[in-house]
Amino acid sequence: MTEINALVLTGYGLNCDMETAHALSLAGANPHRVHINKLISGEVDLSNFKILVFGGGFSWGDDHGAGVVQAVRLKTHIGEALLRFIDRGNLVLAICNGFQTLVNLGLLPGIGGDYTTRSVAITYNDCGNFRDDWVTLRLNPESPCVFTRGMDVIELPVRHGEGKFYTDKETLFQLVSNRQVVAQYADRSGAPAEGKFPENPNGSLLDIAGICDETGRVFGLMPHPEAYNHITNHPDWMRSKELNRRNGAGMAGGPTDGIRMFMNAVAYLS
């Protein structure tokens, strides 16, 4: 099979690029960490890539709204190139700060194929503070999202101060009816969080943690799949290890739920 080149953005305060690249290579892709300015200068050409990851971090310090300044810079200099990238049937994964950037670019939600209108926002957590915690996510089996195929309830860490998904009623209705709501915060049993803190860590409307465009090829979420790249990332792993031992089982093997998202992307492109 041909190599699947993935581009992970770096620079200007972005910071999850190394583990994101690691997650991509575990999934069988060929990751490249590329500074935003190399895309702008044309030194690196987007058309050589099939996956583009807007990763986590604090681009421009998150001043003036998380992801806002990054969106301004990308739209101003390579807005067209990004649209062409999506048109070509490639995949875009936007995690945390990347998700915030995408909604400010208008690449999400991309309702009716409109990839330039800012119609949803990701704003300050209702809890009033930055929060690092693991959350349970219900994934929507009906959604066209490429990255979550074959997955239902998973756990991932959130690490953000601005993760509250917000939009107007009509847009919310459209997102639901278009099945663009991919991931929702839930309690540990997988039942909807219904806004309860800390299961819903930020007060997101409808417990929304991630959405995709209508094609399912552009996906943004607040939790960090790349931070669940190894079994020992999970907060309960030491207890599970010990209890599994008692009933003769070894440590849970196979890829983590975080890595499976990246594998889905690779599988789709293969």
């Binding site: 305060g13 704003t123 690092d132």
Partner: protein, 1003 residues
């Protein structure tokens, strides 16, 4: 002209910031407010067209979904308005990023006199609120007059079209940079100059300095470059370099130590050499993993054949004490430059924090500059923003409350870095400067901020401490620089690198020039934040986020191109030479010309009288105390004490997962809410190997003897490593001393001799423990003036001094992280063991403190016995025999049994009669003694034989079993009969309730 844009959330969207302030106003000051809405203000001080203005309003500053904005004042309703903005010259990070965004979206460059400033307007609504109450909120919650200004406007005064007006905090110095020559005709004159200019020169140094500048040879050498008497540049340089902060005069001093009781009377010449350098060099011989110690910005240890890790620790006490947020964020961002400046540069992989403050609920007569509660909020947020925005995980830390820290708080920040073993074929830990190489300054620009920070932190905090050294760190600028410099390192473009911290260029250039043997610096080349700084200010300014790098001329173009790619400012400011001189010019005119080794030579050692008094000589005795009857109530009360209770809201604010290597997190257990013994990270994502990190701080024992305080602190840090699975044969240490003043003075510091003796004893314990446990000290720092003068009820001022405090941080390795063990109980029926001897050592324990006693029987470390225990336990863990393991720390066995039960959400059935004890025949002793070297371990019953065989030669007891999920903590005491069956019988949920009660609700 300037334009003012106001931005706020749309109606109906909750304003989390405003709501947070409303609640604090209620909880902290009892001020009832209906509602607070926040308005962001952006002042654009540039000539823009209406088109340009609407583009930036739309594209940059207004989210169409959540916000509304206007260039005229917004019509947000209010009864009172509080406007808060920065003072001129204070770092305005959002203002700086706004400039980047505006230039990008408009495709223009702002002109030199143009800028963007941010501030906030709070719209407060409520019944019968007074201006005084608004001022309380402004000064007590929203702003700190050191860095900020505020205005309060009532609805009556409000002019709808004017709003708060347009306030531009622009620095205008209107000053021509001048070099002043300072006459040094007499010592007295130099002394008064030192006082005038806040040089903090020590009286003993003054004659040496004068001799240098009056010595005929030097006078002869200086004449040709146009210098006679010393310039202010030269004296400020010497003052910085000689400050205790940079030179560690205390630890290199001479201590005349006397113990009248034992008759011991010795001279301790140079504590650093005897107790830190000596042992560490000896251990370096034994430990092949020790790569580089005692000279660089951080120590270096081997991780695997291809990687080294580096570690260092710092404190940032004085600035945090005055401006908690600014001080703390500057502290964490600052310590992150140390690994970046270690060897040819290291990537940051982890940070930790330690906060020591006064009681959070203090309501006594003393008036510290910041109330402990506000101070704690500020330092927590400072480290949060500094760490999170640097993309570095913060998986460990602690908070300690004690009245002694009201004089000056402590803010410990520790940083771990990671480097490849070699760069372009040369060892990455090696670096040097050579004649002809260029001196480059990268990162931020230089302003007046931070001037005399170093000398201020070498003084007791008082009203006269210059506020100018309080800064606000800029993690965004530093993260860009960090990414840039690591790429430059990997391309082999960096010959030498160090950070600009204390002393600024004067120390980074001065110290790096020692290697090549000289330097020439052209000060006018240094990029400034604003014009008008004097040459000496440019030279010693501590403006943040700057590194000094040595680059070969042939590499300059590549270095600069890479710098541009990463949007980092880099400037050639001079070159290294071998003339033996530090030669500084400004626009061609020499303003400093001194021998580089001037600082090496001839300065006298500091001297200290040190007199030790044993506890009973200080009026301490064991309390006369009959055993309690209600142990259940006692345990619950201990769990609710400030230094024991849950502080989860701190850890949750810190990103501890970034970089993807989190293995053991700060909080664990079924509820993910009980603190772990240590942190474990996996720095190489393709490897199963991990770094284990822990730290400990138990200042309370200093009330009895700082020797045992130090011994117990180090022992705790070591146990924390072992108990999660760390390798006992690889333990690195970092010592951070924070001590009250030790220079005796009958009026101002009457107990100085005792404090000095405590320091000597502490250093002796440091050596004893490091040799016993074979811990090379990879790094260490000292902060020697932890005192403050606080005003009391009648206007009188009190000197408040901290307990003698040591934070000890430790590192270890684990070959396969999948062997790590957590602290919470696992399965019902598991057997519970106590390892290590419990002694009658309640001195300075949490139990005694709770009852209002200190006592005398402070815990003592039996290193030989402990070493056997630690080896046995780590083998049992590696062998997979251990289900859970937890150290017994502050609060003793009772408190820590509760921790394991709360962690596992399971009960325990414990028989105190089975606990291995030595001279401890009382339930309260067994439950609350804080004897060192002990663990609580649970195992699967089927491993009993193998486990007990492993424990051969170790004091251990099988004390009970783990019970089911709905379980209770049941403890059967020695005199259980009298107690009517069991001594303690509590629902685990009741333990959790008590432990969460004080601070568990905070977010």
């Amino acid at each position: 002209m300037a334009h003012r844009l106001e931005i706020t959330l749309k109606q109906g969207l909750p304003d989390a910031e405003g709501e947070g302030i409303r609640q604090k106003a209620k909880n902290y000051f009892g001020i009832e407010i209906d509602r607070i809405r926040t308005i962001q203000m952006v002042i654009i001080d540039a000539d823009f067209t209406p088109d340009q203005l609407s583009i930036v309003q739309r594209e940059v500053f207004t989210n169409p979904v959540t916000q509304r904005s206007s260039y005229a004042p917004l019509d947000e309703p209010f009864d009172w308005n509080i406007w808060v903005g920065f003072r001129p010259g204070v770092r305005d990070n959002p203002g700086a990023t706004a400039v980047e965004a505006i230039e990008d979206v408009l495709g223009i460059r702002l002109r030199p006199h143009e800028a963007v400033y941010t501030s906030k307007r709070y719209c407060v609504t409520g019944q019968g609120l007074s201006e005084a109450q608004m001022d309380r909120i402004a000064g007590g919650l929203l702003a700190n007059d050191i860095i900020q200004q505020w205005r309060i406007i009532s609805r009556e005064e409000w002019q709808p079209e004017e709003g708060v007006g347009i306030i531009i905090p622009k620095v205008r110095l209107d000053h021509t940079p001048t070099v002043t020559t300072l006459p040094v005709t007499s010592d007295a004159e130099l002394k008064s100059l030192s006082d005038e200019r806040n040089l903090a020169l020590s009286a003993n140094d003054i004659p040496i300095i004068r001799n240098y500048f009056t010595n005929p040879d030097n006078v002869g050498e200086r004449a040709p470059v146009g210098l006679t008497d010393p310039t202010d540049v030269e004296l400020e340089y010497i003052s910085q370099a000689r400050s205790d902060h940079c030179n560690h005069n205390t630890f290199r001093g001479k201590f005349f130590y006397r113990d009248p009781v034992s008759g011991e009377d010795v001279v301790e010449d140079n504590l650093f050499k005897t107790y830190i350098q000596g042992p560490t060099l000896a251990l370096k011989e034994k430990k092949e993993w020790v790569v580089s110690v005692l000279w660089d910005n951080a120590g270096v240890g081997r991780f695997d054949d291809n990687h080294n890790y580096v570690i260092t620790g710092e404190t940032h006490n004085s600035p945090s004490n005055m401006e908690a947020y600014g001080g703390a964020i500057t502290g964490i961002v600052g310590v992150y430059r140390d690994p970046l400046g270690t060897g040819k540069g290291s990537r940051l992989i982890m940070g930790s924090y330690g906060f020591c403050v006064g009681p959070r609920d203090y309501d006594g007569p003393l008036t510290p500059r910041l109330h402990p509660r506000r101070l704690l909020d500020g330092v927590i947020e400072g480290v949060r923003d500094g760490g999170n925005k640097s993309g570095v995980p913060t998986p460990f830390g602690q908070v300690t409350f004690h009245p002694g820290y009201m004089g000056k708080c402590l803010v410990f920040v520790t940083a771990l870095g990671f480097m490849p073993a070699t760069v372009q074929g040369t060892p990455c830990e090696e670096k040097t400067t050579s004649p002809g190489e260029l001196i480059i300054m990268s990162g931020g620009r230089v302003g007046k901020d931070g001037i005399h920070g170093v000398t201020a932190s070498s003084e007791v905090f008082s009203e006269s401490t210059p506020a100018g050294h309080v800064q606000i760190g800029d993690p965004y600028t530093q993260k860009k620089m960090h990414d840039f410099l690591l790429e430059a390192r990997d391309l082999g473009l960096i010959q030498f690198i160090t950070d600009n911290g204390g002393g600024g260029l004067s120390s980074s250039v001065g110290e790096s020039a020692l290697l090549s043997g000289g330097c020439e610096v052209e000060l006018e080349k240094v990029p400034l934040k604003y014009a008008g700084l004097d040459q000496w200010e440019i030279w010693i300014s501590e403006s943040q986020e700057r590194m000094t790098i040595a680059v070969r001329p042939e590499d300059l173009d590549r270095f600069m191109a890479l710098s541009k790619l990463h949007a980092v400012e880099s400037t050639v400011i001079g070159r290294y030479t071998d003339t033996g001189k530090l030669h500084i010019t400004y626009e061609g005119k020499t303003c400093a010309f001194v021998d580089l080794d001037l600082l090496e030579s001839g300065f006298p050692q500091w001297e200290f009288e040190a007199e030790w008094l044993p506890p009973y000589q200080r009026g301490l005795n064991e309390p006369v105390l009959n055993p309690p009857k209600d142990y259940g109530r006692l345990l619950l009360d201990l769990l609710s004490r400030p230094n024991i209770c849950a502080k989860n809201w701190v850890a949750r604010q810190y990103d501890h997962e970034v970089q993807g290597g989190s293995v053991v997190k700060p909080l664990g257990g079924v509820g993910r809410d009980v603190p772990s013994d240590a942190a474990v990270i996996r720095p190489v994502l393709t490897s199963e190997k991990g770094i284990v990190f822990s730290q400990a701080l138990i200042p309370f024992y200093s009330a009895i003897d700082a020797y045992h305080m130090t011994a117990c602190t180090i022992d705790e840090a070591v146990r924390r490593l072992i108990v999660v699975g760390g390798d006992p044969s690889h333990i690195g240490g970092v010592d951070n001393f924070c001590w009250p003043s030790i220079q005796y003075d009958p009026e101002t510091n009457p107990d100085g001799k005792f404090r000095a003796a405590q320091l000597v004893r502490s250093c002796r314990a440091l050596k004893d423990l490091c040799m016993a446990y074979e811990i090379p000290l990879l790094s260490g720092k000292d902060s020697m003036y932890v005192d403050g003068h606080l005003t009391g009820r009648y206007g009188e001022s009190h000197k408040v001094s901290a307990l003698e405090t040591l934070q000890f941080s430790a590192t270890s390795l684990v070959s396969d992280v999948k062997n790590c063990v957590s602290m919470e109980l696992k399965a019902p029926g598991d057997l519970v063991y106590i390892l290590g001897l419990t002694r009658n050592e309640l001195g300075a324990s949490e139990y005694y403190e709770h009852l209002g006693y200190i006592g005398t029987r402070v815990p003592r470390v039996d290193t030989e016995g402990s070493k056997r225990t630690y080896t046995a336990l780590s083998q049992a863990i590696e062998g997979g025999l251990v289900a859970s393991a937890h150290g017994i720390y502050r609060g003793g066995l009772g408190v820590h049994l509760a921790m394991t039960a709360m962690g596992g959400g399971r009960g325990l059935d414990i028989d105190l009669g089975k606990v291995p004890v030595e001279d401890g025949d009382r339930d309260d002793v067994i439950l609350f003694s804080e004897s060192a070297g002990r663990f609580i371990v649970t195992i699967d019953p089927k491993h009993r034989e193998a486990f007990e065989a492993r424990m051969a030669g170790v004091s251990f007891g099988k004390v009970g079993t783990v019970t089911d999920a709905e379980g209770r903590l049941t403890v059967r005491g020695l005199d259980a009969e009298q107690a009517g069956g069991s001594t303690i019988d509590l629902r685990v949920s009741a333990l959790k309730e008590a432990w969460m009660a004080p601070l568990g609700e905070l977010i």
